[in-house]
């Protein structure tokens, strides 16, 4: 149980002298609260596994420090750090029974047998592994094996955090859902800090109360799922989270107005005069853009196709070379292949060089 602080932590696999742009993890400073459920979300190769391995000590950082409850544990080996980690593919000790597998991390630390048995029993109950406790672990299905791996991660009650490295990759979608709910329940039950790495936004948003989005070795935003949805701090977050992702459109912005192709869109906040030389874009989620019949006051776009998601329909439209997605309001039927777009000004954000610009209300 501990608060984890990362101080200026960075990792380069090709040495500390490598150019900063090549770092697998660019310097990051952040805090993980005791008892929190975190998700590290990002595409493959964005550095999330590196960050996880730095925390668990499998990788030693090129720069920076890791503090557990204010104590610098950077030089400590994995064994000496109080951390548990579950890997992408199930790791099973073949010669042991399920029970022995679960007891392994406790036995190695010389914990008394009675306590080991009690703890193994509790975890096995929580994970529905009790009927298998005396079975050899080798012949079980992939999801049962992964449950054992999860169990070994959770069995120690004193860990600073439990790290999950895409643990549900090998699990069937149906069971995935079950196991994820199970994990969420376990989090409530056991009061452990959990950090869950994934590239699947649904997984991240359903599991975590704080989602940390990574992109190209950087932490670009960390916040609740609602914050990430409503106010992405980076165009990448807008694009990566949500389905379809946020519309990012190049625009000229000054004061309360954004200009696309000469057409003016009103903004809720005042942006004054933005610095020259930066790439200015506006971002708006498809949920906050409605298609309407073409009219002179509206930005007009060419309709390419309609995606029917059942409860909601999205129109894929094009303005010049920029593609957008927009909501088709219920009851609206499209005629012809052009439409007007209505923006909801409260949900239009402005980005300079991909970073959110805070306007003045």
């Amino acid at each position: 149980m501990a608060r984890i602080d990362l101080v200026d932590l960075a990792q380069s696999y090709s040495g500390n002298d490598a150019p900063p742009e090549s770092f697998a993890l660019k310097p990051v400073t952040m805090t993980w609260r005791q008892g929190g459920a975190y998700a590290l979300l990002g595409p493959s190769g964005c550095g999330k596994t590196t960050l996880l391995n730095l925390i668990s000590g499998i990788v030693t950082p090129s720069r920076g420090k890791i503090l557990f409850d204010g104590q610098d544990i950077t030089p400590l080996s994995t064994q000496k750090r109080n951390i548990a980690q579950v890997f992408q593919f199930p790791v099973i000790y073949d010669t042991m029974t399920v029970g022995q597998n679960l007891a392994f991390p406790l036995k190695n630390r010389g914990i008394a047998k009675a306590e080991v048995d009690a703890r193994v029993k509790q975890i096995a109950d929580l994970l529905d592994l009790t009927p298998y406790l005396n079975r050899k672990a080798t012949r079980l299905t992939a999801d049962a094996k992964q449950k054992i791996s999860l169990g070994r991660g959770l069995v120690r009650s004193d860990v600073a955090a439990v790290l999950f490295d895409e643990p549900l990759t090998v699990i069937d979608p149906e069971l995935k859902w079950q196991l994820r709910s199970k994990l969420k329940a376990l989090h409530r039950e056991l009061d452990l800090t959990m950090i869950y790495v994934t590239h699947d936004q649904t997984e991240a948003l359903t599991f975590a109360d704080t989602v940390v989005v990574m992109h190209d070795g950087r932490v670009v935003q960390s916040g609740t799922p609602a914050e990430l949805f409503d106010k992405p701090a980076h165009t990448f977050v807008g694009y990566f989270i949500g389905s379809p992702g946020m519309n990012i459109v190049p625009a000229e912005v000054s004061g309360h107005e954004a200009r696309i192709d000469g057409h003016v869109i009103g903004l809720h906040r005042n942006y004054g005069v933005l610095p020259a030389g930066k790439k200015i874009e506006i971002g708006v989620r498809p949920e906050f853009v409605d298609v309407a019949a073409p009219a002179s006051g509206l930005l007009s776009a060419t309709i390419e196709r309609i995606d029917d998601l059942g409860r909601i329909q999205f129109a894929r439209v094009r303005i010049g070379n920029t593609k957008l997605a927009a909501r088709v309001p219920p009851g609206f039927s499209i005629s012809g292949d052009t439409a007007g777009l209505i923006f909801n000004p409260a949900n239009v954000h402005v980005y300079a060089d991909s970073h959110l610009v805070e306007g003045v209300a």
Binding site: N53, S56, G57, I58, S77, T78, Q79, I83, A84, Q85, F87, Q88, F89, V91, Y93, D94, T95, M96, T97, F104, P105, N108, R109, N134, R135, K136, T138, R139, S149, R152, G153
Partner: protein, 300 residues
């Protein structure tokens, strides 16, 4: 599903069948034929039924005595070299580097003894161990050890065993190394997280994952050492006395030295049968070792 029946498929099997027939089955049948007969040369043969086999298994006869004594020596030899080479091979494999240029260097060095022909290995050790001009023999005697593999039985045995260990431990080490390399990094990382000691990692991860290759290594080394001929023949010639005369050496003496084709044929059949049985037992035991046994409900 209905099976398609196509008798033409037999033609595809025919080449293999012919090759195996001429290379294995027919020569073996010739041996079976010899084993039932006696000859005094001159291509004259006399029917002897199972007489040779009876003699072979009766220690009071000359043939039986020689066979059983050499068989005992051979089994002892195989047991000793397995007991040395398997653990030693595992240790070598464990201490090899996992990556970098040194891997290639280690592999080449390990492979060197395996590339040397048997009789050359024998010759090397025959000279190496000589007390008058051999480096090993000379140095040992100089240090006060009365080492002479020509006159002392124990010295002869030690020489033959050390030679075999030198020649073949590499094979076990290479196989084990291949087994170790196939273990995903995640296992080691998980073991680190679980706080496993070096010994626990070996017992819980490395040894079980090497199971398969170790089976192959033990089988190969058993068969090879049980059939050993050239190396001890070159070094000790089976001596001093009969102390290092293994079954194969005895067989060659009977077949080519005395030209007792009937006895030799009977002996080689029994020899062959022993190897088959031992290998089958090994294989069955070791492949079943890792499989699940029924566990009593409620057992701890």
């Amino acid at each position: 599903m209905d099976k398609t029946i196509n008798q033409k498929a037999w033609f595809l099997v025919l080449p293999v069948f012919l090759v195996v027939a001429f290379s294995a089955v027919l020569p073996l049948m010739t041996v079976v034929n010899y084993s039932m007969q006696d000859t005094f040369g001159n291509n004259q043969f006399f029917w002897n039924g199972v007489g040779w086999f009876k003699e072979l298994l009766d220690p009071s006869t000359d043939l039986g005595g020689r066979f059983l004594a050499s068989l005992g020596r051979n089994l002892f030899f195989s047991a000793v070299i397995l007991a040395i080479e398997v653990p030693l091979g595992i240790i070598v494999a464990l201490s090899m580097p996992r990556e970098g240029w040194s891997v290639a260097a280690c592999l080449v060095i390990l492979a060197l003894p395996l590339l040397i022909p048997w009789n050359v290995v024998g010759t090397i050790w025959q000279i190496f161990g000589r007390p008058d001009i051999g480096l090993l023999g000379y140095v040992l005697n100089h240090l006060g050890f009365n080492y002479n593999y020509v006159s002392n039985e124990v010295d002869a045995w030690v020489t033959v065993i050390v030679m075999d260990v030198w020649h073949w431990t590499s094979l076990v080490a290479l196989l084990c190394y291949a087994g170790l390399k196939s273990i995903p990094d995640a296992y080691y990382q998980a073991a680190q997280i679980d706080g496993a000691s070096r010994w626990a990692v070996f017992k819980a991860i490395q040894l079980p994952k090497m199971n398969r290759v170790l089976l192959i290594a033990v089988l190969l080394r058993f068969m090879d050492s049980f059939m050993i001929y050239t190396e001890p023949f070159v070094v000790t010639g089976g001596g001093p006395g009969n102390s290092t005369t293994f079954v194969s050496i005895e067989l060659v003496k009977i077949a080519l030295g005395q030209f007792d084709l009937g006895k030799a044929a009977a002996l080689s059949l029994v020899y062959n049968l022993i190897i088959l049985i031992v290998c089958w037992v090994f294989y069955t035991v070791m492949t079943n070792a890792g499989s699940e046994r029924p566990v009593k409900e409620g057992a701890a």
